[in-house]
């Protein structure tokens, strides 16, 4: 409800002032647009309360306009949202922006911009981006999708001129496991209160990205 109210207000302000797309965001987008293709090795650490998974390694293959692919010799679980480092999905359809001022985060002054896709086909409903204006890149984002809930991304870059992050933390909501009793181990105890409390949990995937090969 809160999100709808915010979105409504943002749209009203847009209608009233016929706002232009934020210039700093466009600079970031322009820089991201130079990345046509990249491959990288991703090291994944999944932190979900009811899943115990060891650290996994996979190869990531990105090509502009195409679905990002992952390949691994191991079994890997990848979140459906939060691995779009180039923000293709967000900038795919026309959008409007609202400047929300600046904020200090981790000792850095970041510009906050709301991005609202205006096309009905867009799967993303609202994104709040935290921009490092000086280095023209996105540091954090909070994204609300139309159908698949919300997630946040926190990015870390090694060098000031890096376009793509070398570390990303994606936080998302996960539905609890619904496992029939006959599949449970003999020692599994049923705690109904705990199960109810676990209806939705927050999961975090920590991704270290290395061995980038970027094609511009």
């Amino acid at each position: 409800m809160k999100k709808l109210l915010v979105m409504g207000l943002l749209l009203l302000s847009y209608a009233g002032r016929a706002q232009e797309v934020d210039a700093d965001l466009m600079k970031v987008k322009k820089r991201l647009d130079t990345v046509q293709q990249f491959t990288a090795t991703v090291v994944l650490d999944l932190d979900v309360p009811f899943i115990r998974m060891p650290t996994k390694t996979a190869q990531m293959h990105y090509e502009k306009g195409k679905q990002t692919r992952f390949s691994s010799e191991d079994f890997v679980m990848l979140p459906k949202r939060g691995l779009d480092f180039s923000f293709d999905e967000l900038f795919k359809y026309p959008f409007i922006t609202v400047d929300r001022g600046t904020e200090m985060r981790n000792g850095q002054s970041l510009k906050i911009v709301n991005v609202i896709p205006t096309d009905k086909r867009a799967e993303l409903a609202l994104a709040t981006l935290y921009l490092d204006v000086k280095n023209r890149r996105i540091m954090q984002s909070e994204i609300n999708t139309r159908k698949e809930g919300s997630y946040t991304l926190s990015m870390h870059y090694t060098k000031p001129n890096d376009i793509l992050p070398d570390y990303v933390e994606a936080t998302f909501a996960v539905e609890r496991l619904k496992i029939p009793f006959n599949f449970m181990g003999k020692d599994t105890k049923i705690d109904r209160q705990q199960m109810k409390a676990q209806d939705k949990k927050t999961g975090v995937i920590k991704i270290r990205i290395k061995e980038y090969r970027i094609y511009e």
Binding site: P49, F50, I51, R52, M53, P54, A58, F70, S71, S72, E73, D74, F75, V76, M77, L78, P79, K80, E148, F172, A173, V174, E175, R176, L177, K178, I179, P180, F183, M184, G185, K186, D187, T188, K189, G203
Partner: protein
């Protein structure tokens, strides 16, 4: 003693019953494999269904390790029955054929005689478990290949392929302790009952009751931990993310203690018995 044990080994190797038992174990394994393949897909569907909304998966979990885990779950009721039939037969056959009198009329110590029977029962059980581990691993990996293992025990636990196989080997070792317990129970039952068919019925009843008691809450903490039926699935401890080694060692030591106690009772009862 060595001669007695060797004589028992030769007798066991010469009787067709032993090979029927090996064949039966292998047949059970094959049947569990077929059901495990179908059950495996269903288990994975159910386990991962609620996660499909948030994640997509790369790679497969329907592999030799999952099949071996399902096999482990299915073996511990059928195999003890076969082990108990064979190991009790080591003694009941002697009663039936009257060879026990012939042997004991010679300069053979009664304690050594029954001791050799227990030793051979233990050896045969360990042989069966090793056979199961080797044959099921060879079948599982050659048909389904290697890969990560997923198990649901309070949480969804994923184990890399090498770690999964290590845990499966430990689970077989822990299961072997439970099987040793069943085999000494069957020899002890044979000491009292003497007749093969009646011993089999008693052994089967013991197995069924033990399995029923495994799930029953006895209301007393110490009984829930150390009453022998509660120790039978210690092997499951290897599929928690963190293995509680102290609990594994204690449980198996207690179960071995039960085995030693029952062996002692069996040896004592046999020595007291009038063989004539």
């Amino acid at each position: 003693m060595k001669t007695l044990v060797w004589a028992e080994v030769v007798k066991l190797a010469k009787q067709s019953k032993t090979y029927y038992a090996l064949g039966a174990v292998f047949l059970i394994e094959c049947l569990i494999f077929i059901t495990a393949y179908y059950q495996g897909s269903t288990i994975l569907d159910v386990l991962l269904d609620s996660l499909k909304q948030s994640f997509y998966f790369e790679g497969t979990l329907l592999n030799g390790n999952l099949i071996l885990y399902i096999v482990l779950n299915g073996l511990w009721f059928n195999v003890p029955l076969i082990i108990m039939i064979i190991t009790s037969g080591i003694l009941t056959d002697e009663y039936k054929d009257g060879t026990i009198q012939t042997t004991l009329l010679q300069a053979v110590n009664k304690g050594s005689f029954i001791g050799a029977k227990y030793i051979v029962a233990v050896g045969f059980t360990l042989f069966i478990i090793t056979f199961m581990l080797l044959s099921s691993s060879a079948l599982a990996y050659s048909i389904f290949g290697k890969g990560d293992l997923v198990v649901y025990l309070q949480t969804l636990n994923f184990f890399p392929a090498a770690d999964a196989f290590r845990r499966i080997c430990w689970a077989f070792a822990s299961g072997a302790v439970a099987m040793l317990f069943y085999s000494v129970v069957s020899v002890t039952l044979a000491v009292w009952i003497k007749e093969a068919a009646k011993t089999w019925i008693a052994a089967a009843l013991f197995l069924i009751i033990t399995n029923l008691l495994l799930k029953l809450d006895l209301g007393i903490t110490i009984a829930n931990h150390f009453f022998f039926p509660k120790l039978m699935d210690t092997w499951q401890a290897f599929f928690y993310n963190e293995i509680d080694w102290s609990s594994v060692w204690i449980n198996n030591a207690v179960l071995l203690g039960y085995g030693v106690l029952l062996t002692s009772i069996g040896v004592w009862a046999f020595r007291k018995q009038d063989i004539g």
